[in-house]
Symmetry: C2
Subunit: 252 residues, 2 copies
DNA sequence: CGCCCCGTTGAGGAGAGTCAATGGCTGTGG
DNA sequence: CCACAGCCATTGACTCTCCTCAACGGGGCG
């Protein structure tokens, strides 16, 4: 709940009425077990999902067994907002940990957009950020070395989790195996293991029981070409968010 | 014009009124020369762009000179729709060839969405497809070999250009250097050159003066794990597109 | 004509992959 | 309570894809 609240109010405050509307969407909350599929390739994209607790990830599988993780969904993240289209999903989303997910169908979503411009703005921001994360993932996988990719991902997760929690954290619970990290970064689990060991030895990170501590955020960011402002988006005064009078037809 | 028409009417026909609205947006059309920047890193994202003629590309530059091309914009493509947020752009868009670009500001865009649900739907679809292309790029760069990446990209461009032209084409003009292809795929121009020479020798493609001919689409698709249905999205009957009565606040 | 950009090719090197073995941890069942 | 299976992280040895550096040649253009 806190995570979603932080997410939705990140760019503009929500009044009580808007919040009440959100609460109202709460009817269909489902818990998925770790490794359980939330969306399967081929499912029709006619609902959107909000992570209340736990982690999920989106991946695509090749016929020969290769897997590419496209992105991670953390508490407070709204996903398949963009995909909402009644098309068949071309990827699978599955739970990393036990995961409480709020499922919102199209109708309810459209109602929500109609009833609150503030909420509509919040959803819009979530979508903008989602695409920004995809672009960053392309740069990471396409042009960074193994060490840079890992550090860069850790910093992104650190920042996103800090935002969800509402306070800066340098130690983050990381419920991922080496194979998960490898499949997200276009590497192998063996090489991820080697590289993270190096990073530990060189004093960049510490690891302890499924959690990682970033020892020197600025140094790591510099090494990995991580833009410290990335996702630290301050609220601009956008007509998109304040367009009470010109109600658009297009959701989102 | 044909390209944009094909794009906008891909999923649902446009009536004359909607089309008139589109024409009306035509006021601010700009021509960019090859290599000229259309959007610079740091620019405020307060306009959207429609490619009328030519190619453009979006890239991110690292301080040490590495470049990652995030995606290509072809005739008919609408871009920065998703980014529309008054944030500072974290990437640059520049023209590949001489490029006619229609620039639409936020106000005009919102007006358009309000005035035509059909157009709103068309824009929505463009956004869905844009994100789908980004996800595909992640899989390509993350998990495919050099040969697979190149073939996969060629097939995507072939299909997108065919859609823009309104008929299937196996020979496509490819105004990209080896370095461009390399920076899109996370390779070096030397290796792209070598690999494409191999592909020519093994009878997968032919090249002639800035254009590529795909000799056996099915075989190439199989080799590269390219989903032939990718982007061949048929129009589903989505409430999102027919929601005349519940006008949403959120643009797009 | 000469410059520059681009594609190509060769030689050698490096980063990441493959295969395989080991050891720790956890869960389970006798 | 212990034995064993299964999963995961780690490490070593070796391989291979892709990179780096460099040279050469063709074509466009001033």
């Amino acid at each position: 709940m806190i995570a979603l609240q932080n997410r939705l109010t990140r760019y503009s405050p929500l009044n009580d009425a808007s919040w009440a509307v959100m609460e109202n969407l709460n009817r269909q909350e489902t818990t998925f077990q770790a490794r359980e599929d939330i969306i399967r390739e081929g499912d029709t994209a006619d609902r959107l999902f909000i992570v209340k607790r736990g982690w999920a990830l989106r991946y695509r599988m090749l016929e020969d067994g290769r897997r590419q993780i496209v992105n991670f969904m953390l508490p407070g993240d709204i996903f398949d907002l963009q995909a909402l289209s009644d098309l068949k999903a071309d990827h699978t989303v599955s739970a990393v940990t036990t995961c409480d997910v709020q499922i919102v169908d199209q109708g309810a979503f459209l109602q929500t957009l109609s009833s609150s411009a503030t909420l509509a703005g919040a959803f819009w921001w979530a979508a903008v950020q989602e695409e920004s994360i995809l672009r960053e993932q392309i740069v990471r996988v396409g042009r960074l070395s193994a060490k840079e990719r890992i550090g860069h991902l850790l910093l992104e997760l650190r920042n996103r989790l800090s935002a969800a929690l509402g306070r800066e954290q340098d130690t983050v619970a990381l419920p991922l195996t080496r194979a998960d990290i490898a499949d997200a970064l276009g590497l192998t689990s063996v090489h991820v293991s080697r590289t993270m060991s190096d990073m530990r030895r060189s004093g960049l990170i510490e690891e302890d029981n499924e959690s990682v501590r970033i020892l020197d955020k600025s140094r790591l960011a510099q090494i990995c070409h991580f833009d410290e402002d990335y996702l630290h988006i301050r609220r601009p005064s956008s007509p998109l968010l304040d367009h009470q009078n010109s109600r658009a037809n297009m959701p989102r």
